[in-house]
Symmetry: C2
Subunit: 393 residues, 2 copies
Amino acid sequence: MSQVLHAPSAGPRTLPSLSTLPTPALVLDRDRMDRNVARLSAIAARHDVILRPHLKTAKSVEAARRIFPDGPGPITVSTLAEAEYFAREGGYRDITYAVGLDPAKVPRALAIAASGVDLKVTLDSVAQAEALGKAARDAPAVCAAFIEIDCDGHRGGLSPGDPLLIVTASELAAGGVPLAGVLTHAGDSYGLSDPDALAAAAEGERIAALSAAQALRTAGFECPIISVGSTPTAHFARNLDGITEVRAGVFMFFDLVMAGIGVCDIDDLALTVLTTVIGRKAEKDWILVDAGWMALSRDRGTARQDVDQGYGLVCDLHGRVIPDLIVDQANQEHGIVTMRAGSARALPDLPIGTRLRILPNHACATGAQHDAYRVVEGDGDMVIATWSRMRGW
Amino acid sequence: MSQVLHAPSAGPRTLPSLSTLPTPALVLDRDRMDRNVARLSAIAARHDVILRPHLKTAKSVEAARRIFPDGPGPITVSTLAEAEYFAREGGYRDITYAVGLDPAKVPRALAIAASGVDLKVTLDSVAQAEALGKAARDAPAVCAAFIEIDCDGHRGGLSPGDPLLIVTASELAAGGVPLAGVLTHAGDSYGLSDPDALAAAAEGERIAALSAAQALRTAGFECPIISVGSTPTAHFARNLDGITEVRAGVFMFFDLVMAGIGVCDIDDLALTVLTTVIGRKAEKDWILVDAGWMALSRDRGTARQDVDQGYGLVCDLHGRVIPDLIVDQANQEHGIVTMRAGSARALPDLPIGTRLRILPNHACATGAQHDAYRVVEGDGDMVIATWSRMRGW
């Protein structure tokens, strides 16, 4: 559904520009995204592992095509609706659904598999394995299952040494469900910022996954895929021996949280929210913009980092950061822009009607507030394409 | 676009039920919503003021029809896209756009007016008044303008005594733009919980609006509408003499923030997110559900209240609160459910596949994460209708 908004040969240029686009709007710098993808692809190649991007961040087939132009993947998704969308719109066929399986969703997962998609699901209990095996018995196609491993106490998954690991694998085997392998996610790495600590988190992820795989293999189970990943650990891993694939999502766009962790620089951030100044309160040194939490999301992920960026860091129309200017408060359709507390700088003069761009705390959350990307190239302010975003479950 | 999912005469009952609906899903208890609407309508009638509901919360023409079945309003909106949607889908014609006017949006506002909508806009500067007057000169229809008044330093607006009030009104008059009146919003009332303090906030709102109107009238301007409102002040106002209309939005659904303020009881909350248990971590007393921040939003509005509800308070399938059980953490598609810190109660046994309903912190933010409401009546778990939600700008 990529809608190219101009063709160079089509006569006078009538590109929409960031100066005229209705605000608020989600703007994607394609050059930065391509550079971010190339960087992690090179890291994966150097470690000789497969990169399986998590498309829960982009949720866009046009963005996915910048990595895999014609399918089939490998990709990761966070909902079955994403799996259906990427299969239908982009021909993706190698898809891992990396959220613990709800037994009631098994028929839908099997229907996706029956449509020709190699859909792998994720589980960490005998109950889920049993539900999958039971439904798979009479299905035309079956989903292989990952057993989720807990490497850092962040969320779900079995500890690598948990005896339930073997019980769960046995239940899968009894139900005729292929074991895809083991999958883990070092979610706690989001709370780190020291390179050595990040490298240690990556090593913890690797060791947890390999230990679990070893336990399964010792018990006689094939465990073909060893899948690890989070954007921070994917970039800071020093050793991926034994790992077959790495998953990461937010790396495509990056965001202020990732910059605070040290995974990227501010000028790697590919996503901004275009906004317009709609008011000012001189006595409070406030500027009001038309991007509130509806356009930015309520995510305050930098609040726990060394540099709290409020609801986002403010740039001019060309994406150049205005030092210390942040969105300090957000109502539904109003952002309150001020200088960061303690800044020695004066509030710049930004009259009503001025256009600004806001770098988000969390690209996944901010993206989710919008239905489309307005795509620009490099420092340009011409919109060269509109890319779709899907949502829902 | 109301899609009635059953007709009683259509044979065997095949209603979707909350037991089988794919999760996560947004569930609306229509009886509770009707009761909340009736309550504030009665308050407005007692004060002899018009209730102009703010539809930025519901964003649904089917929900609006429960108040005004056939239009024309009065309603309030937070985006021009809402104005267009309610005009097109529901025949609403008396619409106030209560966010400060971006000069670049003037042509679109005038186009809505030209389509037969009495669209009133909001501004608080000479620059906005000038832009509106200039564009209105050659337009087939003009928008009347409210001057926004600041009653509590919460966001935008002119102080009632600001000399710019008269300058702005003069600029409107010079441009041939009718003055709709004055409009204010006691946003700081969201931080209160004492009934007397809330009544005082309502009185502050009234006095600010009346003072501004008086200043305008003294200077020779007609000021027909005196518009105040926020859900807390609308419910706690003791005197609305001189006020012509009250605006409120979240009152239709209520939420945990409003319950924390004391505007409503927990069993007034009309909105929940239906979710399914997808995992458990016995050693952490965690239950994992398939409603993360994508389904709940990142809103943590109760964090600053006496009772911090995490990302939401957990109920059983029938909407009965499970005491002390909250969503403590939220990832994109995972909620981590635990007992509230300090609770003496034990974590209930909720096996994988169990269905729960989560009461949200902030109905506006949680609603915005979904494309539709699944409507139930009272304590029933049958889905009697699916109502649309609009989004975007």
